[in-house]
């Protein structure tokens, strides 16, 4: 696909949101949509400008992003490490997989009351929840990816004298990468979702806190703004993951000529 048609396809994706926003603005101005139910897009834009000038918005986005990334780094790296270990060693898998699959069946958000009891409403509580939420998709997909590596390729690598290190980096890891990326993108979604819930329930800073404060003061434009920013951050994370995926899976037929 040429650059211009790709641009064209991207542009077409934005057409519907633009139409929805235009319709929404018209409906608000015509009084069809009362401002205390849903403020006009222009009012939300104004709130955005106001909070940007005061620095409040940037600060809260920064706090939320830092939490999200910290939780992701902790949960993601443990999940990745365990996925690798259990994919490569039957002993390790025998030892831990059943336990992990059992824990996986508990929705991590159901732990919120317990987590508040353990950690209060401090940073640790949010870090723990995000890390737990991110852990499973990364773990499950890394394990799956390694288990699905073509054993014929592994045998080929052995026959051609690759040592364990070369076998891992040249055969097993690249073979597992498509599945790992599926896990990564799924985990990024869970990361934001968990953070929204955690910040809404208990926080003294961050986007969720900003939204809850605004609710108390009936600043509905700020509430809507927070929701939109969550959506944008989620989209940004997903786009970054897709870009990374395209760059590293260039060999994959699904990413060729795309």
């Amino acid at each position: 696909m040429s650059f211009s048609t790709r641009l064209h396809n991207n542009a077409i994706g934005w057409l519907l949101p633009a139409l929805v926003i235009a319709g929404w603005e018209v409906a608000s101005r015509a009084g069809v949509m009362p401002a205390n139910v849903l403020p006009a897009p222009s009012a939300v834009a104004e709130a955005f400008w106001r909070l940007t000038l005061s620095g409040e918005l940037i600060r809260n986005i920064g706090v939320s992003t830092a939490r999200a990334l910290a939780g992701f780094a902790v949960g993601g790296s443990i999940g990745f490490a365990l996925g690798l270990a259990n994919g490569l060693s039957t002993l390790s898998r025998g030892l831990t997989d059943t336990t992990l699959q059992m824990i996986r069946n508990i929705p991590h958000l159901a732990l919120i009351p317990l987590v508040i009891l353990w950690f209060g409403i401090d940073e640790e509580a949010k870090l723990f929840l995000v890390a737990l939420g991110v852990f499973f998709p990364i773990y499950v997909n890394t394990l799956l990816g390694i288990q699905s590596v073509d054993p014929q390729l592994v045998e080929m690598g052995r026959v051609y004298g690759m040592d364990r290190r070369a076998l891992f980096f040249r055969v097993i890891l690249p073979g597992a990468l498509p599945a790992i990326f599926v896990g990564l993108r799924y985990a990024l979604g869970i990361m934001w979702l968990t953070l929204i819930v955690a910040e809404t329930i208990s926080a003294s800073s961050g986007l969720g806190y900003m939204a809850m404060q605004a609710r108390e003061f009936l600043l509905i434009d700020v509430v809507v703004l927070s929701i939109l920013i969550y959506a944008l951050l989620g989209k940004l994370a997903d786009s970054l993951a897709r870009l990374l995926e395209r760059l590293s899976l260039g060999w994959h037929p699904a990413f060729q000529n795309g």
Binding site: V159, R170, P174
Partner: protein, 263 residues
């Protein structure tokens, strides 16, 4: 030549049909009363096979008779459960045994030239490896595809890359497990000619497992038929190269082998 002289039992001093420069008279490998069991299933039993360096040996047999098992023993992927396998002297700068599988088994995430470089694992790396890989790709006629992904190549081209990967380390022994079985008839003949040309140029010992009797007599110096885990026939193919496919001589040998397989 009489039929009897063709089937004469092999001895240690097998004379190669083709003179082989430096390696003449040396042995590539020898199985002595070698056997392989999986559990209580005997797959190979009492295999005696002495192969001089530089010989082109074809191994034929019905499906499940143990041909792949024999190659796996040769490539060191498995060990014989009885008897022994010994190799001739290792030569400087040569990998000992290379294996070509029925499937190309290329790494989809590595370019064609990088796939060929896999054959130099532990032998060469970096720019040197790349140059060797490009040279051998030229020999199999794929120099211009070096930087493409394997997924864009045809089946025959993938198998040529696999051949280049097997040969780039200059193996002393090349074991081929029905490598052309999945190709269409015309591509197969092209690949057979390529294989023969490279074998003549590089002077390695070739062990080709095939289910195609015509392919065996067209390419090999010697054909071994395996049946029920034993060597049922050991036949020289004393026909000058280049050989003409479909010649009376080859057809006669082919008939002899088929008789043995189905007689």
């Amino acid at each position: 030549m009489t039929a009897a002289s063709l089937t004469a039992a092999r001895s240690f001093v097998a004379t190669p049909v083709r003179p082989i420069g430096s390696v003449e008279g040396q042995r590539a490998f020898a199985f002595r009363q070698a056997g392989k069991r999986f559990g209580d299933k005997t797959v190979l039993d009492g295999i005696d096979l002495d192969v001089p360096a530089g010989q082109f040996l074809a191994v034929i047999g019905k499906s499940g008779c143990g041909k792949s098992t024999l190659l796996r023993l040769l490539a060191g992927l498995d060990r014989p459960t009885s008897g022994s396998l010994t190799f001739g002297v290792a030569e400087e700068g040569h990998s000992r045994t290379r294996f070509m599988f029925q499937e190309p088994r290329l790494l989809p995430w590595a370019s064609v030239v990088k796939n060929v470089e896999v054959g130099l694992t532990g032998i060469a790396s970096g720019a040197e490896a790349r140059q060797c890989a490009l040279d051998i790709l030229g020999e199999v006629g794929l120099a211009d595809r070096a930087d493409e992904w394997p997924s864009v190549l045809s089946g025959g081209q993938k198998q040529r890359v696999a051949l280049a990967r097997a040969l780039v380390g200059h193996p002393q022994i090349l074991a081929l497990d029905e490598p052309l079985g999945a190709l269409d008839a015309l591509t197969r003949i092209e690949m057979q000619q390529l294989l023969e040309r490279i074998w003549i140029a590089q002077k390695f010992t070739a062990v080709l497992v095939t289910h195609d009797v015509a392919e065996a007599v067209a390419l090999a110096d010697r054909v071994v038929v395996i049946s029920e885990g034993r060597i049922a026939l050991d036949l020289d193919v004393p026909v000058e190269r280049p050989r003409r496919r479909g010649s009376v001589e080859l057809a006669r040998l082919e008939g002899k082998i088929l008789d043995r397989l189905f007689g």
